[in-house]
């Protein structure tokens, strides 16, 4: 006779493996959805080029690959970004753009779409800053459609235009393309940064919410 205890352990084990398998398939489905049906890349890019923070002629470009729900991205945003803005962006030595890598769930992708809707009204970076200022726990509802619209309202955006943009998933393709770009760029976590010298093409990858000193050294080595 089979030991009752062993039978229970086996049933629980099978249940856990099945649940993990189902969850994995669900996730793969989500990733497929994020990466399939991308239209012609140039067509998508022509819809909305990545908004650049700082001088377009700066020698160094900082590319951030991040997720609006990522806690470490916020840590970097709070502690390192201000000094970079002050010492490199505002002085014209570097510029910066953000590539959405919404790995942490549907609200991440929606938040990324909302930033492009804000960009339609010239407030991409204001909206970007608002999202990080008001970041809550992952998938807790802080970045659902309703909250995203309220952020837009607080920034005095035209709400009819913003609502129409967000509800119609106008920038769905754009965010999917960013996901692909970040993934192809070797990002396996957020935030991931690539510091590029636009003249020589030299680049340095920085992974994680690293302190200002690291960025200072990397950027200065390229100036």
């Amino acid at each position: 006779m089979v030991d009752k205890k062993k039978l229970i352990v086996a049933i629980v084990g099978i249940a856990i493996v099945s649940a993990l398998g189902a969850s994995f398939l669900l996730y793969i489905g989500q990733v497929d959805q994020m990466t399939q049906d991308i239209q012609d890349e140039s067509e998508v890019l022509s819809v909305n080029l990545p908004p650049i923070l700082g001088s377009t002629t700066a020698l160094v470009t900082i590319i951030e690959m991040g997720d609006y729900q990522c806690e470490m991205c916020k840590r970097w945003y709070d502690n390192t970004r201000p000094a970079i803005i002050e010492n490199f962006i505002d002085t014209g030595k570097a510029n910066m753009f953000f590539i959405d890598y919404p790995i942490l769930g549907p609200d991440s992708a929606l938040a990324a779409e909302a930033t492009y809707c804000a960009d339609d009204q010239g407030k991409y970076w204001d909206y970007h800053v608002t999202l990080y200022d008001y970041q809550g726990h992952m998938n807790s509802g802080w970045a659902n459609a309703e909250r995203l619209k309220s952020f837009a309202f607080n920034l005095d955006l035209n709400m009819d235009e913003f609502d129409e943009c967000l509800d119609s998933s106008k920038y769905d393709e754009r965010v999917k393309l960013n996901w692909q770009k970040a993934s192809a760029g070797g990002a396996t976590s957020t935030p991931t940064f690539i510091i590029v010298n636009t003249e020589t093409g030299n680049e340095e990858k920085i992974v994680g919410a690293q302190p200002y000193a690291v960025f200072e050294k990397a950027i200065n080595s390229m100036l």
């Binding site: 994995f24 996730y27 470490m72 709070d78 502690n79 396996t188 690293q210 302190p211 000193a213």
Partner: protein
């Protein structure tokens, strides 16, 4: 255990330069990692000693359980570990990392509590079991 936890919690970076950083909001997190690592080191060593000396212990499992809870708490969902968990286990991994991330501090405190209890019970039993008969 201390070094890997510092790397996972993004206090210690090895690339492109070796650098250690503590931001004001992560001081509590760092202190909890430090306390957890100290207790885990003491308790696991005590239990290994106990196994080697008297060939039996029922506390190693509990101490490992406490250590694993504390170590896995705060496995940031957007860090390399959390990312691997999400890509391997999908939605369940996402929910698990979100939970571990959200309750990082309470989970670490619970695990330190478990390790403290195991420490004192192990100490007591070692005193009794290793007493030299006169």
């Amino acid at each position: 255990m201390f070094i890997p936890l510092l790397i996972i919690s993004e206090h210690l970076f090895l690339e492109p330069y070796i650098i250690f950083s503590i931001y004001p909001e992560s001081i509590v997190n760092f202190l909890l990692i430090l306390i957890l690592s100290i207790f885990a080191g003491i308790v696991i060593s005590m239990n290994i000693f106990r196994i080697r000396q008297i060939k039996k212990t029922n506390k190693i499992g509990v101490s490992l359980f406490g250590t694993i809870i504390g170590a896995s708490a705060g496995a940031c969902s957007c860090g390399p570990v959390g990312f691997s968990i999400i890509t391997t286990f999908g939605t369940a991994g996402g929910i698990a990392t979100a939970f571990l991330d959200m309750y990082e501090i309470p989970l670490r405190i619970i695990s330190i509590g478990i390790l403290i209890v195991v420490f004192f019970t192990s100490l007591k039993s070692l005193k009794n079991e290793c007493k030299i008969k006169s």
